[in-house]
Symmetry: C2
Subunit: 359 residues, 2 copies
């Protein structure tokens, strides 16, 4: 089995290293052999080749069984990077590989860990019985992939981005969401801005067409501004949230912060054949890069998803998830999820502790 590793930018290399440590232990215990290939993407690719994504990275990713990624992205607080041509920014590499591999379905679970309730920013009474939702985000269409241009006329600059969806793009992601809901609590909340946008209006009507094939699943529509509120007000109401690219970007980050465990949340980006790129839900956190304090668990759990979905190694995926749970139960915490009475652990220690528990 061939796994492509993309360490990426910021904390990416540190956390991917720990995930690989865990995968190595899986191989040892279960008698597998994985062949790894490190690929460059984003800032790392710019440093080496002057561009954020090369044809070589695309080809090698395609010829692997799955891709495990750290994180990609510049430091948004500095103004130097955004002045770069869009196609030369690190983020263009991530957008480019999503498109090149046709990874249209981005699955981002957000759930409240019983052990980490202390890290959740919400009050007990808002948490209620807890929450466990998954955001199904369309990942290769919409505003992030539309035509764009900046022009100047009479000395006045105008910039334009385009949000476009066709019904096939909407249909395939809607089917994903309903298929996932089937194995869960059977509710889909489709999020749009259908009171204003044409693309949302088409979104809503295609989602309703798909829903007709899933009579057991409850479909609910929600406007994006309302959804941003409901995630804070009552996250327990959601099972599967289905939405387009940009809304999914904003809402999934909000949802993961609402859990208090953003350093714990994995994600998968899949194409139609089940091939996938797996990465933590969080970003490249340039402010803590190199400090040895980043939480590697989201990446380790992404590796577990990879084992399960792309390599069909369920037992092994279970073992990784169990190891993570045990280490948490023993009280080890990276700073992002630390609370009183717990034991502090750094990135490497966390990886080692989890690897040791694989059996």
């Amino acid at each position: 089995r061939k796994i492509a590793l993309i360490p990426g930018d910021g904390i990416g290399p540190e956390i991917v290293k720990e995930a690989k440590k865990v995968l190595d232990k899986v191989c040892e215990v279960y008698g597998h052999e994985f062949v790894y290939e490190e690929l460059l993407l984003g800032g790392a690719s710019i440093d080496a080749h002057g561009v954020p994504l090369t044809q070589e990275t695309i080809e090698k990713a395609k010829s692997s069984d799955a891709v495990l990624m750290g994180s990609i992205g510049g430091d948004a607080k500095t103004s130097s990077w955004y002045q770069l041509e869009p196609s030369k920014r690190p983020e263009a590499g991530l957008l480019g590989i999503r498109k090149a591999l046709n990874l249209f379905a981005n699955l981002r679970p957000a759930y409240l860990y019983e052990e980490l309730k202390a890290a959740c920013p919400l009050k007990e009474e808002v948490i209620g019985d807890g929450f466990d939702l998954i955001i199904v985000r369309e990942l290769t269409g919409g505003l992030y992939f539309g035509e764009r241009r900046t022009t100047e006329e009479n000395g006045i600059r105008t910039a334009v981005d385009t949000l476009s969806y066709n019904e096939e793009e909407i249909r395939r992601i809607a089917i994903q969401a309903f298929e996932i809901a089937k194995k869960r609590r059977k509710k889909v909340t489709s999020v749009d801005k259908a009171n204003v946008l044409d693309s949302s209006r088409l979104w809503r009507s295609v989602v309703e067409e798909v829903a007709a094939d899933y009579p057991d699943i409850i479909l609910e529509h929600m406007l994006v501004d309302n959804c941003a509120m409901q995630l804070v007000h009552n996250p327990g109401q959601f099972d599967v949230i289905l939405t387009e690219n940009m809304f999914g970007d904003i809402l999934s980050d909000e949802a993961s912060m609402v859990t208090g465990s953003i350093g714990m949340l994995s994600s998968a980006s899949l194409n139609e054949t089940g091939f996938g790129l797996y990465e933590p839900s969080h970003g490249s956190a340039p402010d803590i890069a190199g400090k040895g304090i980043a939480n590697p668990i989201a990446t380790i759990l992404s590796a577990a998803m990879l084992l399960r979905f792309s390599l069909d190694l369920d037992k092994e995926a279970d073992a990784v998830e169990k190891a993570v749970a045990e280490v948490l139960k023993e009280g080890f915490r990276t700073p992002d999820i630390f609370s009183d009475g717990m034991k502090k652990a750094g990135t490497e220690e966390m990886g080692t502790l989890i690897a040791e528990k694989i059996r």
Copy 2:
């Protein structure tokens, strides 16, 4: 002084009635006479004239000193309304009047009421020293006002919306934000998606140009997905959030829910001359319309903003705000902000209690 009243849809008529009750009492106590004119907009205008906005409403609003509005909007949960032609939906009336009156600057304060800490969904330690931020949202550009079209080719429907900003549109809203920050804690957080969008890249560079004229004000850039997280994680870090139309729509709703007091938050939409339309930050809440339980305070506080900003009646505005504070201190609460040990009040009772305290 001429005030145009737009009761609107859903709970709009109920809450505007209470705000008018309070304004009547202001007139009685301070010896003013306001001339009111009720205008139709949104669903109410569709019912009467078949369109969500008439030229008459525009003209009458223009000839008034200010506009006080309840809320506009259909029931997003039903699928009937979104199938309407965009231009025939209630929301088109609101978008239309914003454009017709050139109300490009939408100010949405979100703060934590000391008395209402119990209603805030966040834990004490996240609240910290409390928070008091204001979102300055661009209101007449971007995706909500761009060209849109739905086409069909070979039986496949495609829908397109366009996000466009020119530098003058960005500059005038940025200036508003910096002017407001000058009178506050002197920090502007400009929110964009400059790692992907051309419009955000232009946004960022124009905001930096404007910032050069305000050397005392700290400017910070933040990506929209990160901002959606930070509002939950640490709302106390924000003073003024400056952003474009759609991001402002999503983030201001999130921020107001984070306060726990969405029924308490007013907003102003201003043009370049200071003329304004004042409305609660919340929506038309069709699910509780007609039940007499909607919180009228956001609308009453919007009336106070109207007195202050459009009629220059500071003393009177102070009196309204003080009356609201007193009624809260006495323990009266509508259901949305109710907590143990408080006294339940309905829409009408709340309005009457506040009006009685105007002196």
